[in-house]
Symmetry: C2
Subunit: 571 residues, 2 copies
Amino acid sequence: MKASRFFISTLKEAPAEATLASHKLMLRAGLIKANASGLYTWMPMGLRVLRKVENIVREEMNRAGAVELLMPVVQPAELWQESGRWEFYGKELLRLKDRHDRDFCMGPTCEEVITDIVRKEITSYKQLPKNFYHIQTKFRDEVRPRFGVMRAREFVMKDAYSFHTDYESLVKDGYQPMYDAYCRVFNRLGLNYRPVAADTGSIGGTGSHEFQVLAESGEDVIAYSDESDFAANVELAPTLPLEGDRAAATETLTKVNTPNAKTIADLVNFLNIPAEKTLKSIVVEGEEEGELVLLLLRGDHEFNDIKAEKLAGVKSPLTMASPEAIRRTFGANGGSLGPVGFKGRVYADYAVEKAADWVIGANEDDHHYTGFNFGRDAAEPVFVDLRNVVEGDPSPDGKGRLKLARGIEVGHVFQLRDKYSQAMNATVLDNNGKSQVMEMGCYGIGITRIVAAAIEQNNDERGIIWTQAMAPFAVVIVPMNYKKSAAVKEAADKIYAELSEQGIDVLLDDRDERAGVLLNDSELLGIPHRIVIGDRALKEGNVEYADRRENQAQTVALSEIVGKINAVLKA
Amino acid sequence: MKASRFFISTLKEAPAEATLASHKLMLRAGLIKANASGLYTWMPMGLRVLRKVENIVREEMNRAGAVELLMPVVQPAELWQESGRWEFYGKELLRLKDRHDRDFCMGPTCEEVITDIVRKEITSYKQLPKNFYHIQTKFRDEVRPRFGVMRAREFVMKDAYSFHTDYESLVKDGYQPMYDAYCRVFNRLGLNYRPVAADTGSIGGTGSHEFQVLAESGEDVIAYSDESDFAANVELAPTLPLEGDRAAATETLTKVNTPNAKTIADLVNFLNIPAEKTLKSIVVEGEEEGELVLLLLRGDHEFNDIKAEKLAGVKSPLTMASPEAIRRTFGANGGSLGPVGFKGRVYADYAVEKAADWVIGANEDDHHYTGFNFGRDAAEPVFVDLRNVVEGDPSPDGKGRLKLARGIEVGHVFQLRDKYSQAMNATVLDNNGKSQVMEMGCYGIGITRIVAAAIEQNNDERGIIWTQAMAPFAVVIVPMNYKKSAAVKEAADKIYAELSEQGIDVLLDDRDERAGVLLNDSELLGIPHRIVIGDRALKEGNVEYADRRENQAQTVALSEIVGKINAVLKA
């Protein structure tokens, strides 16, 4: 492609509303253009990247045996009413009425539409398993669209839906092949990512995985093992009971006056002790009317409400006890609470099981105990998993220790089971002629979001750094004085023709711009390989080659540059 | 592709709501599936066809120098308010509100969005000409969606928009290259089509052309020359004044009683004369308040209101005179009107200028004149073009005679000029540094509609007949007893492997169905080339080859079938 036949439009500065690196760079490099809040046009340069992602996803879906179709953007309300999502889905579902006042929505996903098709098309177990996917525009009416295409309202998603006679087939023919295909997609794209368990159902989370591209700006925090492939959303990663015996008590229970120490930080300051020595008390409502449950965890740990909610005897959804109820039961206000004298159910986090001599609230305002020990000063609680994991925790699979990283969710595989097929009565006849509800899986990849995530992970002060698989062009030829120097033009055209003939995506930047502009743009655009052609080097029979990931350019003989490019592209 | 890895779903009978051949066949062949009125899913088999069309369009757009981008489906109302279309566009524009109660629409076309982008991105004449296109889902809220994807609400369109400094460039760099590209697209698709002037501005219609696929079921009627490439929508094709002298009058003006003869048909029956001998009187309002204008044309010709509205002294928009005004002015009711004694402005169609002895209303209820002659019995009218052309009329370009055909509009090229750029203030600085409004062209192709139009043009009682360019698969292999006969399976797999390796789109129909079902489906699906493999022929070392367009199958040696396929694909 010659720049004069294409459209390059770069900016020195990103508009002020862009805060995220990828958003800034996508606007500066002219990959996207905002049309309205959360609505973007993919400009020619950006669309090339988008299509490369799309094609890799399509190839791997096809390789995994999924069959492509194309469902509509606008979906009838009736199907959503049947599944129950019409009522349940919040304002992110953009609802609309047609000219006859009938209800429709812009599809954020397509479970209803595909289930409706499949229940009409597939009647026998012999037709299963089947996995249908499409790559289509989706819409989510985000309350606050931001970060460019990272959280846009209109976006392109690949969504696949698999149908099975039984759960075994869902796992073997649907979920696992899709999981593997997703790994191939993200490997081919050259992204640093992790499949992350996104379900607490079982350790390792076979029911649902998110695919997270690791990047500091990510909205999600992931815990992963430094020795195995265990990875989970930090809120879902389990902690394990500690091993060994509890340390012996060395202190006596002593009530101390702690005026105005309402938080762990206050207490740590006032008593000049580490937070690890303190116990935090959290009081929630029990299942029985009026019952309170006390939850204890280390002062420096983060309470995990998802885990707490699942405990026996705890009210679901998790409900914090009211100040009045706390006062009535404990005889003190929050900030000075503890288990001493409390008759109700007490859970304590695994992390506190083996230590002695805690500092804890005395159930008397402005007082705490030091030297508190379980068993001696209060009954042994039930030790459970109550907190978020932290760096250094043992990995739940027993291999290595956990590290934390931030991630951007770009894919999700999910075992829907019969959520939709049951509601919409999608059944097949099994091999005994008996009607049975199909098992379903769904599998999404955010095509547009991947582009932003890749930039978050790969950029520097000069601009974007594309991996070869996603780059809009593999090679850019930057001629100095293309319009004026016949020698430069001849060399540039020759290299361009040879590389093009070899099927290499090459951009010849024949724009009539200053050398500095062309060079800066080539770096901003992040094209992996650059050939600079100037009169001075040409006289010596040379051109200049640079790898976008390196700071140093190399001198290469004109006669060898095409060979060099072939070599680096294969590297 | 093996059928077992794909999805084939055919029907013996089309649902009753389908009346058009293409709609029936698309449903029967499982190309599409209805989700709601005017909303369709493109099933795997249909999507393959759609993508082939899309790719050919994309290749020809790129070859013509148009640059691809991707604009959003949902568009902000502000831009439509700026162009004026928010008010002007009827209920086909699906308007919607987001969660913040802001107005948006589903884009039926993208003039506003692209003009907004271009006015921000392009500031100098040096950046022009430029032509941007995208292939994107569109929405038109048709009052009565019908004929399947032919007139669906959601559809896929390729729309391109070119921008220029002046009109000359619009024609040379935008309109003509797009016109040529469209011809290449429809030629490559193998369709019988005509570019049709869709503008009365000038004969040959340089301002706008429709591309019509000829098919009996088409909604449009096209007039085209049997000797030149003149073609126009029948309502827009001009008629020419007749040559030669007027025939001499042979009859005297005679008033006859014609009780209850209110129409030309009544009159023809009652007097037993041909309709060509009668004159039809149409009375419309003049520009002056209360003035009536009389329009005369041959009884067997169709009145053309587009032409009539442009006549001097005729009120625009064209308004039929009220019965009361007619009665007051002519002294008779409609059905018995004529020019004798009428003092107002009279226009007569060119076709009646040279003939004599007409039958015409006598301005007295239930009475007509026979033997009426212009000049003698009433003043000479002004002779103009007032009617639709008919078969046999001379071509307006002077070459050959007109034929009529029905067509389906699948493309449209249009010189927008400054309609949008003026309203939206899209300007560039010219080479004198002066701001000037850009000239624009727009160019649409109905990607989804092409699929239906191609089927309308190419089908028989057995099903679809695809051209090679659009066929979902070029070749289908139909093995008899694939699951049971090892020899059949071996031969089928071998041919399949060889053809696939050569990059040929081949379908191996390995479904466990009866031979009749497989054969019927291959014909219904319209795959151009079929290889049938059965045990009996195999024993002789043969297979059977059939061209979908022919009724006769040929016996071909197994060893020669791959060569045979290569030969027919190149033919």
